[in-house]
């Protein structure tokens, strides 16, 4: 293969300077002449019957413009997403504390906020449900359909019940995980600007401009060609700006249409906490069976996600969790049943890992328990059972050659000195006083992009336009949200065209410039937009390469010798033509220098009845080991070091990949140990960063990250997808390390000191000689 000059290099981020210098323009930074401000009026209780909404007091606030309610929605009052049960604004019933009931528009943000507080809601409190398991009970009040279940899936393979009964060893446990809040630095924000033709331009902080387009066009009842959505620099997403920005933008849009002026709607942190999406809390019961040699013979899972008040993305989050619920193992007998359930709390949705981290925590914790029961080393047990090329997943899909899981596990085992640490007591002997140390392992796989359940959305477009001066503008439909898409996609474009990296500019995503490219989620952007760019750039490449060759021959080069192309220079035996010269010549030959590209994911299949099929086109893999220390008196855990190895295909930019891995690990540690959103009686108690603690740099573990690049032939320059992979296995590795260190199995995330302390106290009661 040709030597790559740009792909695989740690070039500097395209957005490094503007962000470091504070010049990036976020939604809140935009100003328009005559701009007004909106503020939401929010539901004070978990479930209410709305009797009336009055602005008679709010009206008196200087600068007050208008009240906006569901009556101002032009189209059907259903936010189009998956199941479409979420009204843009509630008409008679509101279903969670913090739900937007109405909006107030005023000429300053302060006036809007003040007036919103003065809007009088007359309501009657209704009975509510805050526990998903209770919500599934027959006698529960009904929030959704006949059973409060938004969505359910099943995977049936072999005869799991029989295998369980006949097994040599069986383990079964219940696990739970709590919310995770995205905690993006930039809260939700949008500006809707009415245009003279009756249309709207929407400036939105979002991962998914085309979802915003869907939402705004529906609420405003406008043709898609009258709505233009422009993504502003987005200060973090992590899944939290997948679906919900469309709702926020739809609210701003109807405010702007009613007021006839641009309207800015910026969330404060509290309302962002109260009303925006979260990682689903989960409950699960998992069982594994094994024969006497440690071969896993069966896996049975019941997995329940707390969907909150409306379904939003729960069905597809649940689906991804379902597919991966048995873990990265070849198992003949599998029975998985999963449910996403309605409760009267904030609707949950996408969060890095998308339904996988919760069930991975459960099943990878249980794999360690299985190893303990079999008296096997947990890494050996994994190596005995993991998926290798040619093996079949729980859904019966055959794993192809792009699978480095075995190498990953062996790499991490070696880099941690695993065998020495676990089998040799000397490490334990070093423990002194109240502090003990331990190490834990986990393995995971991750289906890249949307898979069979989202296949109708799994396509992406690109437009590559080369100007006369040889600078290049690229339009794509996937977004930069901090993860590095601008840079990685620029590298792919530069490499394909043999253009200097500095010549490439990725434009802000504008829905009027490129066809609907689906969401920027599921670690799919490098793969999907990367391939679309390559497709757009291919005919341009052909023209430029041919023109450069002609020019070299004219300059006296030997046509029989091969032409090399690297870093914007074409050459034959020392005679050179630059990219700029070649492009200028193309233009003087009047060649077409702008091209569209389109990439649709290859076919996937899924049978809803038995959950069998080729669920995803390709998988990424991870192995993670956590070294922790546990304070036996306080229960406080510190993550000391995380060793991880990833197979995500070709690495386009090593520095950015390392950054994604470190960020994913720290977010995983944060979820595992610290983040604890508390609801009491349907009211969120800590919707702020004072009391919702996330890891800071002081809690950061040391990182030891290895990439093992198993090329994926279908990926751009053989890349797969990375963004979510590093987070998924962290909590399980940490929990396994806590067990190794302190001897207690914590079966719920976060592993709060209180829980560990309680478990340790219980152990002490049973065996006074324990640590």
């Amino acid at each position: 293969m040709e030597k790559l000059f740009c792909v695989g290099k740690s070039v500097i981020r395209k957005d490094a300077l503007i962000k470091a210098a504070g010049r990036a323009r976020y939604a809140a930074d935009y100003e328009f002449a005559g701009m007004l401000y909106a503020a939401a009026v929010r539901c004070p209780k978990p479930r209410i019957r709305i009797l009336s909404i009055s602005d008679s007091r709010a009206k008196k606030v200087p600068g007050y413009v208008t009240l906006v309610t569901y009556k101002d929605i032009k189209g059907p009052n259903k936010w189009p997403l998956v199941i479409n049960d979420y009204p843009f604004l509630p008409e008679t019933e509101a279903r969670f504390q913090g739900e937007t009931l109405a909006l107030v528009v005023a000429d300053t943000q302060k006036a809007a906020k003040t007036a919103a507080r003065l809007v009088e809601i007359k309501y009657r409190e209704l009975p509510f449900i805050d526990d998903p398991l209770k919500s599934m009970e027959k006698t529960a009040i009904k929030l959704y359909g006949e059973d409060n279940v938004f969505s359910k899936f099943v995977i049936k393979k072999g005869d799991a019940a029989k295998a369980l009964k006949e097994a040599h060893t069986v383990v079964e446990e219940e696990f739970a995980t709590n919310y995770q809040v995205h905690s993006y630095l930039e809260t939700q924000g949008v500006i809707a600007v009415p245009e003279t033709d009756g249309g709207l331009t929407v400036y939105s902080s979002t991962q998914c401009p085309f979802y915003v387009l869907d939402g705004v066009a529906a609420a405003a009842k406008l043709g898609y060609n009258k709505v233009k959505v422009i993504q502003t620099v987005t200060g973090g997403g992590f899944g939290g700006k997948e679906d919900v920005p469309a709702l926020v933008a739809a609210h701003a849009a109807i405010c702007a249409l009613k007021a006839g002026k641009p309207v800015k709607l910026i969330y404060d942190r509290k309302e962002d906490f109260n009303s925006m999406s979260k990682r689903h809390p989960s409950w699960s019961k998992v069982a594994y069976a094994a024969d006497k040699d440690g071969r896993i013979t069966a896996c049975v899972v019941k997995y329940v996600l707390d969907g909150g008040a409306y379904s939003t993305l729960s069905p597809i989050v649940l689906w991804r969790g379902t597919i991966h619920a048995a873990g990265p193992y070849k198992i003949e007998n599998v029975f998985i049943e999963t449910y996403a359930v309605a409760t009267n709390k904030a609707p949950c949705g996408a969060f890095r890992g998308f339904g996988q981290p919760q069930i991975c925590f459960a099943q990878e914790s249980l794999i360690d328990e299985l190893a303990a029961k079999l008296k096997m080393d947990p890494v050996d047990l994994r190596l005995k059972n993991i998926l290798r090329p040619g093996d079949k997943t729980a859904t019966g899909q055959m794993i192809n050659d792009s699978c480095g899981l075995e190498e990953l596990i062996k790499t991490v085992r070696e880099r941690t000195n695993w065998d020495d640490r676990v089998q040799n007591a000397k490490y334990k002997m070093q423990n002194a006083g109240d502090i003990v140390t331990g190490i834990g392992f986990s393995a995971a796989y991750y289906g890249v992009s949307l898979g069979a359940k989202g296949r109708y959305l799994d396509r992406a477009g690109a437009y590559v336009n080369i100007y006369k001066d040889a600078t290049v503008a690229v339009n794509v439909g996937n977004t930069e949200m901090g993860q590095g898409a601008l840079t990685v996609l620029s590298q792919i474009c530069a490499e394909t065209l043999n253009a200097p990296y500095k010549n490439i500019k990725l434009e802000e995503v504008d829905t009027s410039k490129v066809s609907d490219s689906g969401p920027t989620v599921a670690s799919r952007t490098t793969l999907m937009s990367g391939n679309a760019i390559i497709e757009a750039a291919a005919p341009l490449r052909e023209k430029i390469f041919k023109t450069a060759f002609d020019m070299l021959i004219l300059k006296g080069a030997d046509a029989a010798k091969p032409m090399s192309a690297s870093d914007g220079v074409f050459s034959i035996e020392g005679i050179t033509v630059s990219f700029a010269e070649a492009v200028a010549e193309c233009w003087s030959r009047r060649l077409k220098m702008g091209e569209q590209g389109w990439y649709a994911a290859p076919h996937t299949s899924y049978n809803m009845d038995d959950g069998q099929g080729d669920a995803y086109v390709i998988y990424s893999f991870s192995a993670t080991a956590a070294e922790v220390e546990v304070d036996l008196k306080t229960g406080v855990v510190k993550a000391l070091k995380i060793h991880a190895a990833y197979d995500v295909g070709k690495i386009i930019n090593p520095t950015l990949a390392e950054g994604q891995a470190q960020g994913g690990i720290l977010q995983g540690v944060s979820w595992a140990l610290y983040e604890n959103l508390v609801y009491k009686n349907g009211i969120m108690l800590n919707p702020n960063f004072t009391d919702y603690a996330l890891a800071t740099t002081a809690d950061k573990p040391e990182y030891d990250i290895t990439f093992i690049e198993k090329p994926y032939a279908g990926g751009p320059y053989k890349a797969k997808g990375l963004g979510e992979v590093p987070l998924i296995g962290v909590a399980a590795a940490v929990a396994n390390a806590v067990k190794n260190a302190a001897g207690v199995r914590i079966k719920s995330v976060p592993l709060l000191p209180e829980k560990i302390w309680r478990e340790l106290r219980n152990c002490l009661k049973v065996t006074p000689s324990a640590p």
Binding site: K113, R117, D268, T634, N688, D691, A693, T696, P753
Partner: protein, 286 residues
Amino acid sequence: MPELIIRPRTLKELWKILPTISAKRKYLAGGTDLVTAANAGFDACDAWVDISGLKELQSVKETKTSVLIGAGVRIAGLEAWGAVRRWLPVLTAAIPHFASPSLRNMATVGGNAANASPCADAVCALCAERAEVILELKGKKRRLPLSALFKGPKQTGIKKDELITAFEVPKWPHTGAYLKLGPRAYFGISKAAVALAIELDGDKIKSASVALASVAPVPLMAVKTAGCITGRILSPETARAAAALVKTEVSPITDARSDADYRREMCGVLLERALLGCEERLKAEG
């Protein structure tokens, strides 16, 4: 945030100007609590009286028998004063546990007391140092033990318009510790914190004070525990006894931050560790 913020330059100017302002007013010092509350919509003032310009509140003074800390001194500024480092070991130990570097740059000692949170780190440390608080109203001064200022969560005995101007801490030859258990390594509100100040005579505890944060409605002086260890040898046995007793003096609650039984237990763990740390230091110093 209110429309009106007034920034007097001297105390005299403050007392003169106050009657001209709406009665719905509050003092603004570092703003780290007040601005946050206002942003969250919890502040309904017409005016803030910004006291950060009052020179009288800005410095630390040393007398023969005490150290006077101006209420306007920023937390981050405390360490710069030799008298604080020399005479207030518990407060010095508490500084790194106080919020974050950026908040320490803004927050003031006086504000930490006026806000009257039971979790206030600087206040808890100052209570153990046996600080008195000095208050002033229209030129009239009064003083009381700092621990007596607090009536409940966010409630003090400060009268309308009365201003905390300083804290007076007696010079006594003590050592001590500030141990805090928060939600993460740093920058968090404590689940429990212990401030310990002890004066030693050889290896005997001649005098002791113990203050605790976040385990009672107010920053709590554990008087019985302090009494119990006074006169005893600084030893693991004493530390264990103190740990057992302090658990009976606190009255923690269960809330979004932690659980009551855990907090109670941690008071013992932290106090035992604080005493053992002092013992180790004593041994190391020979």
